[in-house]
């Protein structure tokens, strides 16, 4: 048992067999709910963009105005001039419904994660970098190691390295809040109650454009995340996030 105890100290790695838990049950459950929601948001978000693959800046924008940029893809609506001779099937109905439902589940899961992470010390112990780690020496070594695709040390099976911590904190406290904010800023009803949420961004179409770029950043994070997990040992890292067990057994190559 003991799955609620999260051991993050590197010292335990030496004596660890498979008894201690790498990730608490709460972290594991919220991680995979977030994963599912993110995939649903990504697929449905792409479908919604296909209905109007043009982006603008300011309050308004339409096929009758100059776009900031266009995506070179066909559209699901005949009204949009894409240069393609065909129109894709319209998937906006279920896409919008799935997008908002997944957003609700993700936001509520995220809130639970933050509350629990604060009170269990998960955020402080596992994500906040130690003072010593924030020196330029440590950081530059970590960056150099990553650039050389150096395999992580044994200790890292038990604790996040400093770049990992910074990346996760950035995703949790910058990218996710931004994507939620810009999403809400597109809601006509929401901004009627909180107009500053959209005017601060420069308008509804600006909110849509920023939403697109923050989403791209999140996708970029996901890709790097998967590549890093792959380098660190896909099976052991996946096992740690699914079962909580982080053995020291060697990855079969």
């Amino acid at each position: 048992m003991g799955d609620s105890v999260c051991i993050s100290r590197a010292t335990s790695a030496t004596s660890a067999t498979t008894v201690a838990s790498r990730h608490s049950a709460f972290v594991r459950v919220t991680h995979w709910i977030t994963t599912l929601c993110f995939i649903a948001l990504l697929v449905s978000g792409i479908e919604v963009v296909i209905s109007h693959p043009r982006f603008y800046w300011g309050e308004t924008g339409s096929v009758l105005t100059q776009p900031l940029f266009k995506l070179p893809i066909p559209s699901s609506r005949a009204l949009v001039p894409t240069g393609y001779g065909y129109v894709l099937p319209d998937q906006n109905g279920w896409s919008r419904a799935l997008h908002f439902q997944a957003a609700w589940v993700l936001v509520l899961t995220g809130l639970l994660y933050l509350i629990s992470g604060f009170f269990t010390g998960h955020l402080r112990k596992n994500l906040l970098p130690g003072k010593a780690d924030l020196s330029w020496r440590v950081l530059s070594t970590a960056i150099a190691d990553h650039l050389r695709f150096k395999r992580p040390s044994e200790a890292e099976a038990w604790s996040y390295n400093v770049l990992q911590r910074l990346a996760y904190l950035f995703v949790i406290f910058v990218l996710f809040p931004l994507v939620i904010w810009t999403g809400l800023a597109m809601s006509l009803a929401f901004v009627s109650a909180f107009p500053a949420t959209v005017t601060l961004l420069g308008g509804q179409q600006s909110a849509r454009t920023i939403h697109f770029f923050v989403s791209l950043s999140l996708v970029l994070f996901l890709l790097v995340h998967i590549v890093m997990v792959w380098f660190a040992g896909f099976r052991s890292r996946m096992r740690a996030m699914i079962t909580g067990r982080a053995g020291t057994d060697k990855e079969p190559t």
Binding site: S51, T60, S62, V80, A97, F100, Q101, S187, A189, S192
Partner: protein, 252 residues
């Protein structure tokens, strides 16, 4: 089984039971206060309900953003529409002189209004944004009579909960709750940017609902019904939108 895990099991069970009971109570309260949308069934019902309930609580009286005259879009999008039917063409040939809006249902004095009559009532204007679910938007000045004014004329009964409104295009009908129906910015619009409302933007008569997406602002409206239940309309999901896979509530 250790003491720790048994205690954990009991607590998990209690928490789950409390959670289920809590959800049941929440559903009852939501139903009572009109926080459950008519399309709450189905796999996306949870999301639709959370969105409608939270936005209804936050935005019951809030006003849609209004813009300055200089922010009006140069070209209000007359988006594509199916070829309008014979009935429409006939009325259009007569300069819409015979266009009528009938209002019935749970009202004391059902009535039929001509365009001239509607224009004789206190006119209001708003410079608001029309946003489409596709992602585009424009700002225009809409002129019309407040829906609340018409509802006052016909005298809605206290048990009324929704207003259902129909386009001359039989496939397009929508409904709104009383919070939106009585909202000061909900118009029966007949003017755009100081002119008659063009056919491309829904003329001669369009419902204008600036706190929801464009598809709720039904074009070419001819008929309205005040009701306490949406069960008898179409498939009972509230409007044509959910039957086509779209949300009944389009505040987001």
């Amino acid at each position: 089984m250790s003491d720790l895990s048994r205690r954990k099991l009991i607590w998990t069970g209690l928490a789950a039971a409390a959670g289920v009971t809590g959800l049941g109570v929440a559903a009852r309260i939501a139903q009572k206060y009109g926080l459950v949308p008519p399309d709450h069934g189905g796999i996306y019902g949870l999301g639709e309900t959370l969105t409608y309930a939270s936005q209804r609580l936050l935005t019951r009286h809030s006003l849609a953003r209004e813009f300055s005259r200089s922010q009006i879009s140069k070209r209000p999008v007359p988006n594509e529409m199916p070829p309008l039917n014979e009935a429409f063409k006939h009325l259009q040939a007569g300069g819409f002189a015979d266009w009528r809006l009938s209002v019935d249902g749970m009202v004391a004095r059902p009535g039929t209004f001509s365009l001239a009559q509607l224009k004789s009532y206190p006119s209001r204007s708003q410079i608001t944004q029309l946003a489409c679910e596709e992602g585009w938007s424009y700002i225009a000045e809409w002129t019309g009579v407040a829906l609340s004014h018409i509802l006052e004329l016909v005298g809605i009964q206290p048990q009324a909960r929704y207003v259902v409104y129909f386009s001359i295009d039989p496939d397009w009908w929508e409904s709104i709750d009383m919070a939106d129906a009585l909202h000061p910015q909900t118009f029966i619009a007949y003017g755009l940017n100081g002119d008659e409302l063009p056919v491309g933007n829904g003329g001669p008569l369009r419902l204008r609902l600036p706190r929801q997406l464009g598809y709720k602002s039904v074009k070419f409206i001819t008929h309205m019904t005040v009701t306490d239940s949406l069960k008898g309309f179409g498939k009972g999901l509230g409007s044509a939108a959910p039957e086509a896979g779209y949300a009944w509530y389009a505040g987001i």
